[in-house]
């Protein structure tokens, strides 16, 4: 069964991602001053929740998917086989995406697709573990990431303001582990926590939900919030906590705590509000469409706004990246993003109505 809460939250994450990417790639880099400087405003901050929410939901959805297949009587071997294939599919797709949508030198960017693929492989391997060790792994992943970044000299990979690794095995490995856009450390914490949280928020029929995710979420938000408040008051949290401020690249401990906590609060709340009864509203229909085609939307929205940039740059006889982050003013980029979202809904509804499946269908056909 589909949970409207998961669809709504995933659609929210997708919408935030589309807006961020359109504005970021067409106008100015998020957080940097630029034309229209919307991004410097506080209202932009919540968009930082998109990736954490999405990756947490990846773990939740995987847990529910495994449960569904087990209830159907599928064997462990079949489930593992499917999971591994899906993980490898996403990693491969991530590489192909980086080459075709971005540039060949961006192959090992370790973006969100390759991360989710790697997370699937890791969750498959850890499926037999109980909640305790998985939570311990999540905590360890977050706690050790500052040390890993220090060892790896994170800043040397980001001198241009974006991830720019050398094409050496060492850089590729370090990018995957701790210096890329979405490295395993600390991002693996999100799907791990999502995997552990799912049974508590979405119990099996006849069971009752437990409240520990909300409690944990509140605690994490409180930690991050306390640090932020202390910083805004001129103080600094103790250095040994290694909170390192609120940044997404790198994903600091403070950022992970705050966004993970917010996601943990949002999930059970959304479940309580949206999952009672089987009302078919416009919200659930739209959210369901976006949620079902998240992968296709991810690929399509990139192609829709990046390829024109490359084509425009190439057509002008200059470097293809000439117009990257300079094409449009931020408000216009925002409007284009919203236009894309508005057009995407009927497009994917049409695809469903005509039996066309998108990239998700290809993945199911290849992997299940």
């Amino acid at each position: 069964m589909r949970y409207p809460s998961i669809d709504v939250l995933r659609s929210l994450a997708i919408a935030m991602m589309v807006i961020v990417h359109f504005v970021e790639n067409l106008s100015a880099w998020y957080g940097s001053p630029g034309d229209g400087d919307l991004t410097a405003h506080g209202f932009w901050r919540p968009t930082g929740l998109a990736a954490p929410l999405f990756t947490l939901l990846t773990g939740v959805s995987y847990r529910l998917w495994v449960r569904r297949r087990e209830a159907r009587g599928d064997s462990d071997e079949a489930i593992t086989r499917s999971s591994v294939r899906r993980g490898l599919f996403l990693i491969g797709l991530g590489f192909v995406f980086n080459v075709l949508v971005w540039l060949p030198e961006d192959t090992f960017n370790w973006d969100v697709l390759t991360f989710i693929g790697a997370a699937l492989l890791l969750l498959t391997a850890c499926r037999g573990a109980s909640s305790g060790p998985l939570l311990l792994a999540a905590v360890a992943a977050v706690a050790v990431s500052p040390a890993l970044r220090e060892l790896a000299d994170y800043d040397s990979f980001w001198t241009q303001g974006y991830f720019d690794p050398g094409l050496t095995l060492g850089d590729v490995g370090l990018g995957f582990l701790c210096t890329g856009y979405f490295p395993v450390f600390p991002w693996i914490a999100f799907p791990l926590v999502g995997y552990v949280t799912a049974p508590a928020v979405f119990p099996v029929r006849g069971g009752s939900a437990t409240g520990w995710p909300m409690v944990a979420g509140a605690a994490l938000v409180a930690c991050a919030g306390t640090a932020m408040v202390a910083r805004s008051a001129g103080g600094e949290p103790p250095a040994w906590l290694r909170l390192q401020g609120w940044t997404m690249f790198p994903a600091t401990v403070e950022y992970v705590c705050g966004t993970l906590g917010a996601a943990l609060l949002a999930l059970p709340l959304a479940h309580r509000l949206l999952d009672r009864g089987t009302r078919d509203t416009m919200l659930t229909r739209v959210a369901g469409t976006f949620s079902r085609h998240a992968l296709s939307i991810y690929l399509l929205h990139h192609a829709v706004h990046i390829w024109p940039l490359w084509i425009w740059g190439a057509a002008a006889g200059a470097d293809v990246t000439t117009h990257w982050q300079r094409a449009l003013p931020a408000p216009m980029a925002l409007a284009v993003a919203i236009l894309f979202l508005v057009c995407a809904y009927p497009l994917f509804r049409w695809l469903e109505a005509t039996g066309r499946d998108g990239v998700e269908g290809l993945m199911r056909w290849l992997c299940d």
């Binding site: 449960r67 087990e70 462990d76 850890c126 037999g128 573990a129 109980s130 305790g132 060790p133 998985l134 311990l136 792994a137 360890a140 992943a141 050790v144 040390a147 890993l148 060892l151 790896a152 000299d153 050398g166 050496t168 095995l169 060492g170 850089d171 490995g173 370090l174 582990l177 701790c178 450390f185 099996v204 069971g207």
Partner: protein, 225 residues
Amino acid sequence: MTHVDTPTTEPELLVVEARPEEVAGLSAAAIAWVAAGGPVQSIALHGAAVAWSPGRAAILVAAERVEAVRAAVLEFCRHDRDLRAIEADVAAGWPDIEADAPLAFEFRDRDMDRRAGLGERFRRSVALRARLARLAPHLDRPPLHPPTLASQVGERLRERGRLAERAGFLDGQLAVHERVYDLCGQRASDWAIARRSRGLEWAIVVLLAVETVLILVDLLAAGGT
């Protein structure tokens, strides 16, 4: 262990003092009265007649034999009622047995939610076995010799009611119940123990993995420089 009491209501009893030569003429009316309680069985034995159904019993016997025969009939009705109650409870458990039987072979993490239910059904089957064990000695006791009319009536009622055979069938059915839940309990307990030890192993794996990653990153970073 909880003991589930069977209802203690006695059957409705009709006792008619009748000479042996009168018994045949009154039997039809007695049977008609008893039929209101359910399917009727009747015996005629040595100048007495007894008809019974699950809810009623009628005795036609000479006055001097009334008390002894009445006691024998009431005893039979009690035992029959107790046996029926066990039969009903055992029958009610078959759907659960069929649903739980796969767990007697293989128990996995997804089945941990069902542990409490398995335990409850195991206790239920033990309770049923205890009820049957307490009842069994009364069902197949050796006949009295030389017999009295009351002992003959009681024996004939037990034979006609097939109490001993029914107890034997229940014994076989309960053996299945016990075997399934015994195995399920073993599998669940083995799994829980394995999972607890697995948890510790996983924790060690996580810590070792973190250490490995730290070393790996250090190596990769050193190799890069």
